[in-house]
Symmetry: C2
């Protein structure tokens, strides 16, 4: 899509329509807007340029007359030529045909919309699964960067598995959760999503099926689907994924179980210890490897959650994913994957071919965060603040939603899984909310057959916005009811 | 592959063989060494553990007796069981079969060997395409990190195209090279390799062919091949790729030309301006898009090279890749891709699905490096040091190679493309060099049909190692001659 961050100058002596013509011409001439690209609708252009629609029409007419754009019979205007190609005898590359022939699937359109609206100013982001900038430990980060500056002697490429220094620190850190992992069995990744990407490219075959909770964060991604795998949702109860249903859904194509047993995204559910034992046993019997996504573990608010599945994994069935994206700062882009060495070696080799390793700067920073003890100290303060946020969200829900929805009280993580009592169009709700300055994460992003849920996150918005946004959201829902 | 960084304690009262048994058992029991993994050969185990081979045999015999490992008829020993699976009735997941069924190709075996040997101590790395740790601007980096610590207010996820602040700075920086690119047409990537990965996944279709120089750095990668594309090498002359040969090799499957017109990797060749104009014209006529890899531009040593192809690209035919991996620090892992907006949008969307964006910390650091002017200042100092290194390498070549090889004098970048006069086995040479503590990059990594060349880099080794390593290398070559 073409983006426009420019407006004509209303104080200029050059007519507005002419300024617009010149602006569009320049974009076309430099190749930034390529042949076959579609222009935004006239109404949208008028909004972006902050002019009347008639001014837009006048500008487009001139561009048409010059042979640069053309109206399509199916609606819309596309760029058909540029100043260079008007002179030359052959047209430039048809990038649109390149774009549509790529292997990788585009993101879900609603996810694309969410990614986009997140950068619109003054949006109240009620679903964002990320810590609020307010919670960022600026002073501690300064201390960390200061130490890092003293320690870094060079910043070259790292080993395929990532910085040995960081892997040693993580190996030590994981002992806290009774995970015994030598540095050799740890792969540093640029966040959990990359770990999944490497797994999908490195050890799965197209046509295979990955089981996961239904709903699940994984459904909102294309990481397995783009590599040719299916993701099959397994129903949950209030203790997590239903083990009997795993057994019922096993067949020859099944290659993996992806699960978030601790503060599940989006439902917030924690799987109790006895069920973890059972799950491990069942998967071991079925020879079904598990990907355990443990992104939220450090964010417990009431009591520490049960140990990871990996802690009791005696035969290397579990690939364990950890990260500080949720608990400290997503922008550091560092996570870790623990597994049998041959798997880790293979994925490390693919990672080298993909991006030559994760940012060394980020690896140094994380190593310093953990080894200095600042991370633990910060987590304690963070939990205190998240408890307040959780309470504000729960209070607002009680106040504005008790007759129109039900929800859980999470014991950690970021999410409240709100279930509306009455069926409404989630798409309508999403865009109506956007128009009213509220960004929500509808449940159907996590479960394509489901459309009565919303993922509410108390981690991102300010306390004021949380209360105010939930109030507004309840009003909008009532409008649609 | 299984890696071993442990040795038995010779002062312990526990017999050495028993310590080894316990060590291997623990690795198997925790699942780090998974079922079906192959153990290193007895000779290698003896070396790693620093024990006699008979001690290794004793340990393996005990493990065999316990049913944990098995000798294979074809040679080698594999893990067949673990303590858990001896008790349980079903075997654990067969990770080896997972590994061999992945989509992504493993790295070339010689590249894997290079990646590995790079982390072996005391290796003289004569081919490494990376700045020496000696050249790392530690003090400037401290200043940068200090400013970054003051400026960062939070470290969340970035926009799909990367930090707008950094894109604005890069947009400004590129004006120096007469490239007009608005921030919207810039995608921040985690290095150039990721840009290629995104292009291969996002806009090419399997079965298509990418043209490139022969030899080329791109041949050493699997980025296009793993996505199902062929890479077709086009011969070069001393002014770069042969344009007439591009035309001869065009067919319906041809989708792109990948080229390094400035300080080409591995030959060091610079394409002159008149030939750049011709190349652009020919590709525009053929509607053949170009990927211009401009990683080495800032590393000119004699005079500034001709402008990038992108500077004269009037219709958006060129996707331009830049990076500071070569000129400043590979470990920052930041590069940029410039192209028509629809292409950049599409690739940004895929990037979001791949790793949720590059390290914000790295993006902040790079923005500070460039905007503070420190990058320019640093480059001046760096060029001075690289000139010295180049001279030392050329002197050593003159002294030790004049009768056995020919080479070019590069005017920038890192590489001297050494061509041996007499045919020898490059594989033999590679491993013989490794045994003698010298790591080389053989030419056949960059051109599968070629085996008379070596890529010599003057950027990495110390001045002493450069002189000494080249001397040793010439001796080894003479041995094989």
């Amino acid at each position: 899509m073409i983006s426009i961050n420019w407006k004509p100058n209303k104080n200029s002596s050059i007519p507005l329509y002419k300024q617009i013509v010149d602006y569009i011409k320049e974009k076309i001439a430099t190749g930034e807007w390529s042949i076959s690209s579609k222009l935004p609708a006239q109404r949208e252009l008028a909004e972006r340029f902050e002019v009347n629609r008639s001014t837009v029409v006048e500008a487009l007419d001139e561009l048409k007359a010059e042979g640069l754009i053309e109206g399509k019979s199916g609606g819309g205007t596309i760029i058909v030529n540029n100043t260079w190609s008007l002179l030359a005898s052959t047209p430039p590359p048809n990038w649109q045909s390149y774009i549509s022939s790529g292997i990788h699937k585009p993101n879900l359109s609603i996810i694309q919309a969410i990614n986009k609206f997140e950068y619109k100013e003054n949006m109240i982001r009620l679903g964002t699964g990320e810590l609020s900038p307010e919670l960022f430990p600026k002073e501690m980060m300064k201390v960390v960067l200061d130490s890092v500056g003293d320690k870094i002697e060079s910043l070259g490429y790292e080993e395929p598995k990532g910085s040995l220094y960081l892997r040693q620190i993580i190996s030590q850190y994981l002992k806290k959760y009774e995970i015994n992992a030598s540095p050799d069995s740890i792969l540093i990744v640029s966040g959990s999503l990359q770990a999944l990407q490497l797994i999908s490219l490195g050890i799965l075959h197209p046509g295979s099926a990955v089981l996961s909770e239904k709903p699940s964060y994984i459904k909102s991604l294309h990481v397995f689907q783009s590599a040719g795998m299916r993701v099959k949702g397994i129903p949950m109860d209030d203790q997590g994924i239903r083990i009997s249903e795993i057994m019922n859904n096993l067949n020859k194509a099944t290659t993996l179980l992806y699960t978030i047993p601790t503060f599940h995204n989006p439902t917030g559910i924690v799987m109790p210890q006895h069920k973890r034992n059972e799950l491990l046993e069942v998967c071991e019997k079925a020879r079904l490897p598990i990907i355990e996504d443990d992104a939220y573990r450090d964010l417990w608010l009431d009591t520490e959650p049960p140990l990871p599945l990996k802690a009791k994994d005696k035969n290397g069935s579990v690939l364990y994913m950890g990260t500080i994206s949720k608990s400290l700062a997503a922008g550091i882009r560092i996570g870790w994957l623990i597994g049998p060495e041959p798997v880790i070696e293979r994925l490390g080799d693919i990672k080298m071919q993909t991006d030559y390793g994760s940012s060394s700067l980020s690896q140094w920073a994380l190593a310093e965060w953990i080894s200095s003890g600042l991370y633990e100290k910060y987590l304690e303060e963070l939990r205190e603040k998240l408890r307040v946020r959780r309470q504000v969200a729960l209070n607002a829900l009680e106040k504005y939603f008790s007759d129109i929805a039900t929800w859980n009280k999470p014991s950690g993580g970021f999410y409240i899984w709100l279930k509306l009592k009455k069926q409404i169009s989630m798409e309508k709700l999403f865009y109506l909310c956007c128009d009213n300055g509220i960004l929500i994460n509808p449940g159907n992003v996590y479960d394509f057959s489901e459309n009565l849920n919303l993922r509410i996150s108390y981690s991102y918005s300010s306390l004021y916005d949380l209360e105010n946004g939930l109030k507004k959201l309840s009003q909008i829902i009532r409008l649609l009811n």
